[in-house]
Amino acid sequence: MSAREMAIATAAGPSRLNRVVIYGLLLIFAAMYLLPLFVMLTTSFKSLDEIRGGDILALPADPTIQPWLRAWGSACIGVTCDGIKGYFWNSIKMVVPAVLISTALGALNGYVLTKWRFRGHKLVFGLMLFACFIPFQSVLIPMARVLGQLGLSNTTAGLVLVHVVYGIGFTTLFFRNYYEAFPTELIHSAQMDGAGFFTIFRRILLPSSAPIIVVCVIYQFTNIWNDFLFGVSFASGESAPMTVALNNLVASSTGVKEYNVDMAAAVIAALPTLIVYVVAGRYFMRGLMAGAVKG
């Protein structure tokens, strides 16, 4: 066997072995990530008896949607037994305005910080960036005081305010970096054509901003929907968001532990972010790429 033939033979061998190892590892990690979801879903369709007696990894022998109905409509959270539906709507009422307002303000900030620069614009942007790195815990008490003085304690409106304030740093960062790459000549041209500040924003900038709006909405939606700390700190009882309610449901220590209902409630809680990501995910990647290449 010549040296050349040997080189060819050994090249084919390790490359196939490499593939097996790579895909094997990927499969193992994928299974590790999917296993909890699998357990959650199967458990949520099992009856309590089956859960107690059976194998945790087994498929439901007698599938039932009873746990889902209970989680949604009649599970006991605290002293009331109306399920999580009220809290689900609380979360919707919190997340929709908070996402819309923080995205809109971020877009406006990005527009001003790139196209209407003023003395000290770098400092302002720097401070906004800094806001992204403030740990949530350190603002809890001052924020509680502010909400108290505004009369927004324990309300959804108060939570919206907190999330908007906390989100502006991130949304501004997104939009500023995106608009930085937007040609300033277009703004100048529109100015000469007679368009004002908001007309330029609405007619020229926003129609070209779809990718970054999607990035912003997904990011904000996921963060705000999944937030627990602000929810548990600033809204308790009737106005608590989904995450807090889920915690109360799962952590309640009275009566029999209904694992199937807990699991169903957890899946319901995770569903909206999943839907947002599936619907808008491809724009998300595109938006991230656009920012990366253009910027």
Binding site: E185, H188, S189, A190, M192, D193, R203
Partner: protein, 358 residues
């Protein structure tokens, strides 16, 4: 009183002076070209006129009224940008109609105006397309249509041809010239291309490092450059420059490169003065009539045929001179070639001040 008057205009950023006191005036219907190398401040001057970058001192008057401090949209000026600046989310028709829409003109009137201007620029079939679907030349036309449709009192062009390929550039250049002749519009045009300046302008302002070097008609700028910078910047290939000293008789130049070949000066000068003689390639060459008194046999180093012309690089002592011959000439490389020097067309600069003295 001129239609456009710019007086002692200055702009500085920090300690850096970008415009150092610019004075320009232009009559209604004139075509003014701001010409200079990049970084000379010509675009800054244009942006100051447009209102996009405010000047730090000085005044800009249009039709007698100062526009300094006026918002760009209130100046009744339209501008064509280098990148065309077409709105990517709007169709061609919406792009052209945008300034009219902003001016609050009703839709029916808008449609009619768009159709008229689209016909003038032959882009009627493109009105429903988006800018991304157009070629460079088509985008250029749309940008001009958007400027034209408002019928403003002044047009600004910021290097509008620099993104086009060579062939298209010539076409659109002619188009701009035709539009100027048809509409009688007043235009201020920025470029670094001296051919564009020569072909389009009624008046050229040559700038360098924030200062005006010379203002004049294309012929004046080309034939009587005010200083060595203008002489060198205008013309391709550039003017031949021969440094030397004025001879004892005051009528000849002793070139440094070839002290034993005195050249006659176009006008008498003080003997011993250090000067630079400038002569354009087209003033060195064949002389079929025999009317030119100065003839020299100079060795040919390089021959550059361009089709319409043949440029020769000739050795004069230690200097190389460029001469222009008709396109059918076939001079042999290496051998001496007889050329006539039309010294009446030559210019002389002071070697120290670099200003033209004859």
């Amino acid at each position: 009183m001129a239609f456009i008057e710019i007086e002692r205009l200055e702009r500085s950023i920090g300690a850096h002076n970008i415009l150092k006191g610019i004075d320009v005036s232009l009559d209604k219907g004139g075509f003014l070209v701001l010409l200079g190398p990049s970084g000379c401040g010509k675009s800054t001057l244009l942006n100051a006129i447009a209102g996009l970058q405010p000047p730090t001192a000085g005044d800009i008057r249009i039709d007698g009224d100062s526009v300094v401090g006026l918002h760009p949209s209130k100046r009744d000026i339209a501008m064509v940008f280098q990148s065309y600046a077409l709105y990517p989310n709007m169709t061609v028709g919406q792009n052209i109609g945008f300034p009219l829409e902003m001016a609050g003109i009703p839709k029916a009137q808008r449609e009619a105006d768009i159709a008229t201007v689209a016909r003038t620029l032959q882009i009627g079939h493109l009105l429903d397309r988006r800018p991304a679907q157009l070629s460079g030349g088509q985008r250029q036309r749309v940008a001009m249509a958007r400027a034209l449709v408002r019928k403003p009192r002044l047009f600004l062009f910021d290097e509008p041809l620099s993104n086009l390929d060579a062939k298209l550039r010539v076409e659109v250049r002619a188009e701009i010239k035709r539009l100027h002749q048809q509409t009688g519009a007043t235009i201020i045009y920025v470029t670094h291309d001296q051919i564009e300046a020569m072909t389009l302008a009624t008046q050229i302002v040559v700038m360098k490092e924030g200062e005006i070097q010379q203002t004049g008609t294309p012929a004046e700028i080309y034939n009587r450059p005010a200083n060595m910078f203008v002489a060198d910047f205008m013309g391709s290939p550039p003017m031949n420059m021969l440094p030397g000293q004025v001879a004892e008789d005051g009528a000849h130049l002793i070139p440094e490169a070839a002290p034993d070949t005195p050249l006659p000066l176009p006008a008498p000068l003080a003997p011993g003065r250090k000067v630079v003689l400038g002569i354009r390639p087209e003033n060195i060459g064949d002389d079929p009539t025999g009317a030119v008194p100065l003839r020299l046999d100079l060795p040919v180093e390089i021959v550059e045929p361009t089709g319409s012309d043949v440029f020769l690089w000739l050795r004069l002592g230690s200097a190389l001179l460029t001469a222009r011959l008709p396109g059918n000439a076939q001079p042999p490389v290496g051998a001496p070639y007889p050329v006539a020097f039309d010294m009446t067309r030559a210019v002389v600069f002071d070697a120290d001040s670099r200003q033209r003295i004859a």
